[in-house]
């Protein structure tokens, strides 16, 4: 206790000296408070996961921060769906100072409501460690930054190398829709599931919709559709479902009974050839065994319309925000800066849990084969989207699109009426 107090005083003195020497104003002093070690005091961190691997990673980050600054960090973990459902109540109440969240519309919405702390000055310090695109993804509608990226992952077709080798299939050669269809047929011929699919959670299938729409109609149409500038009743959207329907015979039949991890099990147990998902589940494979992880590989979803090639990919960015109503926003900012800085990123990488960081400082030569493949999927794409439920209004994605896709799985012949209903529900949304 005594040590802490003395430490604190020294820091304050240092800070004052720094401020005087630099001749900086109050704004400068606040900024420095973020830099001066120990100045920020104890803080709390809210993790949006209770899974083993990401927890290991985050706790390493927290430990490294505490070791460096001496600031105690209380680590509070919440299961991700529950965290999401409670976020607005959480942010209006007494939130953790810094918490895990997602980039894009979902962050902008809460920034717009004044619930997130402006962390533009953190970006002044660590901004040069990130490509411009990540700064854009971290920026609110008012042009200020509210978010620091942790990592990214692409959505694509995942498979097991050993299984494909056994069958004699080369997934790298699957370039277009016809290749893909014949591969699925071949898998079915072998008595396997072609494409492991899930939609019990109501969001899993959104990734398939995103990629089909982007492949068939292009990035611009996809973005415009989710922004309400194009209509769901458009024939081009019907085309998406026509293609989706062609995939159904090769999927497991219990799509609505499986959540994403159930579909992942199908791949893990070698019952399915492909699994369309975000690469984050690599960590789950590694929890099984190193062999399972090393066996995992990803290729981009095939081309459908040559006009668009394979130019778009869903690659959500996860990261951290600072809550405005937290008890110690300065502490939150100090922590978020450490998390975004290469030093914090390195602490997470050192755990050995796979992470593709957005930080330019991560040595890509240390990427394993699976991470290199993820990078290749990203490199092939010209346009990056987040994910349906991060790219459109939250009162549309969860309560409306989710159940609509589920009812489509129950009766794929009802595409037209489902799309009409989606459009009329969009039109009936509350004005923004």
């Amino acid at each position: 206790m005594l040590n802490k107090i003395t430490g604190h005083e020294v820091d304050r003195r240092l800070l004052l000296k720094g401020a005087a020497a630099g001749g900086l104003g109050i704004a400068g002093a606040t900024m420095l408070a973020g830099c001066a070690p120990g100045a920020a005091g104890p803080l709390t961190f809210g993790a949006r996961t209770v899974d083993e691997s990401p927890t290991q990673q985050l706790q390493a980050l927290v430990a490294a921060y505490t070791a460096k600054t001496g600031n105690e960090v209380a680590y509070n973990a919440t299961e991700s769906n529950a965290f999401q459902n409670n976020l607005s109540q959480y942010l209006q109440g007494t939130p953790d100072d810094c918490f895990q969240w997602m980039a894009g519309y979902r962050m902008q919405f809460f920034a717009d409501q004044g619930l997130l702390e402006d962390i533009s000055d953190v970006w002044d310090d660590i901004g040069d460690q990130y490509p411009e695109s990540y700064k854009i993804a971290s920026t609110g509608l008012d042009g200020k930054q509210y978010f620091v990226p942790q990592g990214w992952y692409p959505w694509g077709l995942h498979f097991r190398k050993s299984m494909m080798a056994e069958i004699g299939m080369k997934p790298e050669d699957i370039y277009n829709w016809d290749d893909f269809m014949s591969a699925l047929a071949e898998l079915k011929g072998q008595g396997l599931i072609g494409l492991a699919s899930a939609d019990k959670g109501g969001w899993e299938a959104m990734g398939t919709f995103d990629i089909l729409n982007a492949r068939i109609n292009g990035y611009q149409f996809h973005v415009d559709l989710l922004g309400g500038r194009e209509k769901w009743t458009d024939d081009r959207v019907k085309e998406v479902f026509r293609h989706w329907e062609m995939m159904l015979p090769y999927q497991n039949t219990n799509v609505l009974d499986l959540e994403w991890d159930g579909a992942m099990q199908l791949l893990l147990q070698k019952q399915a050839g492909f699994f369309m998902n975000g690469s984050w589940f690599g960590g789950n494979f590694l929890e099984q065994s190193q062999e399972d992880y090393d066996d995992l590989m990803i290729v981009p979803f095939p081309e459908i319309n040559p006009d668009h090639g394979r130019d778009t990919v869903d690659a959500p960015v996860d990261g951290f925000c600072v809550a405005k109503n937290g008890g110690n926003p300065e502490g939150g900012k100090d922590f978020i800066k450490f998390a975004g800085d290469m030093e914090g990123v390195q602490a997470m990488l050192d755990t050995g849990v796979p992470l593709t960081s957005a930080n330019k400082g991560q040595d890509k030569s240390s990427y394993d084969a699976f991470q290199n493949a993820q990078q290749a999927v990203m490199d092939e794409a010209k346009y990056i989207t987040q994910f349906l439920d991060r790219d459109t209004r939250p009162d549309f994605a969860g309560p409306i699109v989710g159940p609509a896709f589920q009812s489509w799985f129950k009766d794929p012949s009802s595409t037209d009426s489902i799309l009409e209903s989606l459009q009329s529900q969009w039109d009936a949304l509350a004005p923004l």
Binding site: I193, N254, L266, Q269, Q271, D395, G398, P403, Q406
Partner: protein
Amino acid sequence: MSSAAPIEKKPVKAKKLKRRRTFSRADRLTLGVFIGIPTFLHVALVWFPAFVTIYLSFTYWTGIHIGDIQWAGLANYENIFFNTPIFWDALRVNVVWLVWFGVIATPLGILLAYQIDREIRGHTFYQSAYYLPVVLSLAVIGVIWNFLLRPDGLVNGLLGLEISEAVSFFGDDRYNIWVILTMASWRHIGYIMLLYLAGLKAVDASLREASSIDGATEWQTFKKVVFPAMKPVNIIVIVITIIESLRAFDLIYIIYGSSGGLPILGVLVFQNIAGEGASMKGAAYAVILFLLSIVPIVSYLRQQFKEDVS
């Protein structure tokens, strides 16, 4: 003289009444505390939120800044009734739930209570066995059954089915509702049984004796004597059956989350009012659910009390 008596009597009567209604300071304080605090809490925690919800159902709001509330008129209701197919799906499930509870689960609970009250052999064992699920919350029941019936659960495991071939207890529309209703009944039957058993114990044994002396059969005794004597319990059972079927939420939420796997009004309220997707459509769902529950109950109770008066 003759008029003196009534004159004298009147003030006495008034005095008596007055004395009865006078409370000492301590009485008043006690009453104030015992009535005032619960009333305050009731109004603040039940009526105030209820009226605010009704008001909010006529507005557009994201649930964050009070200043952002915009009057929407009937827009949320129009949206639900005319644009939202999942509302009708959910209503259908709630109605099926109500009919199932009303026609199957509740009568079954009554039957069990009657059998146990007749002290059939091993009745104490049955009583505990049927009552056991009632001590568990519906959420816990959801967790237990989910563990048994999910694709990688115990039942599919015992059947030796892989995840891809597993019986889709929760995903297949043809029977998932019946699976859920079985799970819910597992608890509901025990609950009704206990309520009814308590009522049956309170029925005067001489009534039964008298009817059997009069030569009534078992069924006639139940129908003509015991059942009418149980009226207060019957009302409670009916009200509970209606409420339990309409407010169903926990079980579905544990198994399906807030997605539309098996749409039900309680989950629609939650999904549209909590979390990122918050809009006052959720408040409108809550009002609809409130009206659905309150209208049949109030009209039933009114009819019952009218009969009592006449």
